[in-house]
Symmetry: C2
Subunit: 244 residues, 2 copies
Amino acid sequence: MSGSCFAERFEHILPLTDREHRALEHLEETQRTVRRGAVVRRERDPASELYVIRKGWLMSYVLLDDGSRQILRLHFPGDLVGASSAAFGEAADSLVAVTDVVICPFEKSALRALFTDHPRLAALLFALTQAERVALTDRLASLGRTSAKARVAAFLIDILTRLRIMKVDLGDSFLLPLTQEEIGDATGLTAVHVNRMMRALVEEGLIARENGNIRILNEEWLVRIGNYINRYAEIDTAWLPPAN
Amino acid sequence: MSGSCFAERFEHILPLTDREHRALEHLEETQRTVRRGAVVRRERDPASELYVIRKGWLMSYVLLDDGSRQILRLHFPGDLVGASSAAFGEAADSLVAVTDVVICPFEKSALRALFTDHPRLAALLFALTQAERVALTDRLASLGRTSAKARVAAFLIDILTRLRIMKVDLGDSFLLPLTQEEIGDATGLTAVHVNRMMRALVEEGLIARENGNIRILNEEWLVRIGNYINRYAEIDTAWLPPAN
DNA sequence: CGTCGAGTTGACATAATTCAAGTAAGGTGG
DNA sequence: CCACCTTACTTGAATTATGTCAACTCGACG
């Protein structure tokens, strides 16, 4: 397991061949450590790299003309980040380290070999990015059609759910290294209102907070009020081409 | 041009080989006509098909527990719809015909051949879906961080921009076959407030409405207030594998 | 000619924001 | 080790954008 986080992620879905394993490890050959708060790349800067996260959290966001920020997504170990580079020469969003992170950057040209030599991996990658797209539409519905409390609930549950993908034994609590302002920028709220909603969730016995730690006390109920759907539970791989 | 809408879309980006052309045409071999208002597939139903739109508009949406609806996206001729089938066995969203449409359904198993025999097309498809994902994050920022007027402005400009992809000579007006309630479900607003915002845009001389027709009078300004970014202008194809 | 869906408008309600002030916690320099 | 700053969190009061409710118009359609 000293190998590839990406491969590990894939293998939660499907056993890989040695050859496929090596191909994915190849993508993570170089490694870069980034300090908490440091910018990995900035919106509109030229960008030709993608990143696999090996350790720590990243976040991606865009800034609007009026200076407000929308955090698009948190990114966790095993995630592929910056795939928009596959479509554009400029970064569509900024990437910042939320904690100290270890990332493995690779040039988008490396995708070429993946698509030509490993059609099954390419297809699996495609399926995974579709699942992420659906998760994004869930968030769209969250921002467009649910209350502040529901958005915060869904945000927290999503983090827990996704962290469990790579850490099955995670339990029901995690360290949340975000300010309330950042949670607000992710959920489309103000920091003040995030504060009120979080306390409301505490009041109602749905979560507990100790320093930066969040403990989910009533997961089922949070899922309910947040309208949350776990999109990572199962990916259909029946249609994939055979391994080679 | 009696061939494939999908191929036509791709060729706006990149010239295709004959072989690639045939592969795409193969996906559109069967054709289905669907009446305005009819449901193509329903959320949570088993779903193994993807669709290429040949003519007309579709929309995709999800319903929340409280009965509210979030329209996720409008889909136009040349668009690939229902790609979430690549990840899931159940439909993640509902698809409904906004106008009478002609769609070309194909099984997701047909993607297998695309990934094995046409790596360049697969990679281009991947790049295109990444561009769509970025457009979705733009919408997330729109719902999360911009005013009602800005959301409506962005919604209208996005339609115009995307219709122009396949119809370069479109000019600055289009027929909008949506009720104000539907526009509200797309922008996260109520029908009443959509009404007020549309009239405000008319008042300010930014758009004109004649029956169901929308004319964009001041595109630049709408783009400005809507914080709109055209993500369809150019796709980087430099990294794609060679054609075969 | 009556019904129905969509658009329009005004009055009112409310969720969330803004503003402001204060507290707690952590980091730094003397 | 203490005094000081800074940053985040917390809380209340006032404000505002958007939602809700209700009534009316209009055109399409049977």
